[in-house]
Symmetry: C2
DNA sequence: TTAATTAAACCGAACATTCGGTATGTTAAC
DNA sequence: GTTAACATACCGAATGTTCGGTTTAATTAA
């Protein structure tokens, strides 16, 4: 991709994480990029197309888990690797968007960005649901192995355990977002609960 | 409050639950109410004021828990009462906004409404945080009693248990929202997990 | 090496439309 | 005849987009 185009996408990502699609103005965007309206429409046919490319960039490049990197030896190692990756996200995120810790109340908008995407592009919904399903399946598989190996034992089914861990972290993330916390600050709170849950299930 | 004004707030609530503050336009709103711009500005000084009144209506009248109504006898009863109230919400909600089950993919926007509120009215943040804190405190108190009475026993502290239950349900709600579920449909999924968690802690 | 040609990159004023908001009515009740 | 409850026509500012143009870079010809 062209340098300028990439630059526009990056700058736009930052803006779309702070404001909704509607709230981000072309003049604002153009000003933030340092380029002109003409330059913008040289690379994009519309504001909508830019938004789509931002979504693609964000959800397939910034916000994806690389499950294959996480340990499958033990459930304990797996969820620690998982949490660690989220933490690394946080740093990469701040770095990528050149934010210091002070002005990153924008972490909030991972959620609003997602909701905005769902509203504007209904086809995005299937993608997201598929992503959630995949995540659940992987967790379930890991937990199944852990149980078979005798690492854990629990009244819950494998999938119930998986849902408990995943949804718990998402719920905490939402609460933290309301409070204006950064992604990195989210990890310890749910790690604390994850570890306790794990302890309760340890064989 | 005047009939017309109340009507405007109700119609506006429905719209603000589907779209963001910016996305809802005056013409759209006026058309939806069946009244005119003159009528609107007779009752409200601005779109912002309306939004504030909608927030007040929604978060203090529709979306509040009446904790005093929940049983404090047992933790089990408490969280069942809690879940039941959410379910009743759902019905009241659909009823209040005159929706049938088909067109209520708008349940989504409880979250976006809240985020929108946070962005527009920073003072709303303190209110929400205070609300979350209150909720956590009440849960913690109930759990403390349950433990003292020998109803439950658990490795976690009282507050950790409370956070686990609360955040878990919020996380599930968010997932369901992405999938386009209604509020009522959210209850069984987290009830299933709550019951299992409870079973794990039952003395 | 340089001049000529072409294409890509970029600019910014101007466009039609839509936005939230206002000014000026009209009507009916008391 | 005053006032509350609306309706209608209208305003200026802001919106996303277009378009005629300029600058810059790459390519070719002399």
């Amino acid at each position: 991709m062209n340098d300028s185009k990439e630059h526009i996408v990056l700058v736009a990502s930052k803006l779309f994480l702070q404001k909704s699609f509607k709230e981000v103005t072309m003049s604002e965007l153009v000003k933030a990029t340092g380029l002109s309206k003409g330059a913008f429409y040289h690379y994009f046919v519309s504001k909508e197309q830019l938004f789509m490319e931002v979504l693609d960039f964000f959800f397939t490049s910034v916000m994806t888990h690389r499950y294959e990197k996480y340990s499958r030896e033990s459930f304990y190692q797996f969820y620690h690797d998982y949490a660690n990756e989220i933490y690394e996200y946080g740093k990469k995120y701040l770095d990528r968007f050149e934010l210091d810790e002070n002005d990153c109340d924008l972490s909030q908008n991972y959620f609003t960005l997602a909701f905005d995407a769902l509203k504007l592009f209904p086809e995005f919904k299937e993608k997201m649901i598929a992503g959630l399903k995949l995540e659940l399946d992987i967790w379930t598989e890991v937990i199944k192995n852990a149980r078979e190996k005798g690492e854990i034992q629990c009244l819950m089914t494998d999938e119930q355990i998986a849902r408990t861990f995943i949804n718990l972290s998402d719920g905490i993330a939402m609460h933290m977002v309301i409070k204006g916390s950064t992604i990195m600050e989210m990890v310890p709170p749910f790690m604390e609960l994850w570890d306790k849950l794990y302890e309760m299930m340890k064989a």
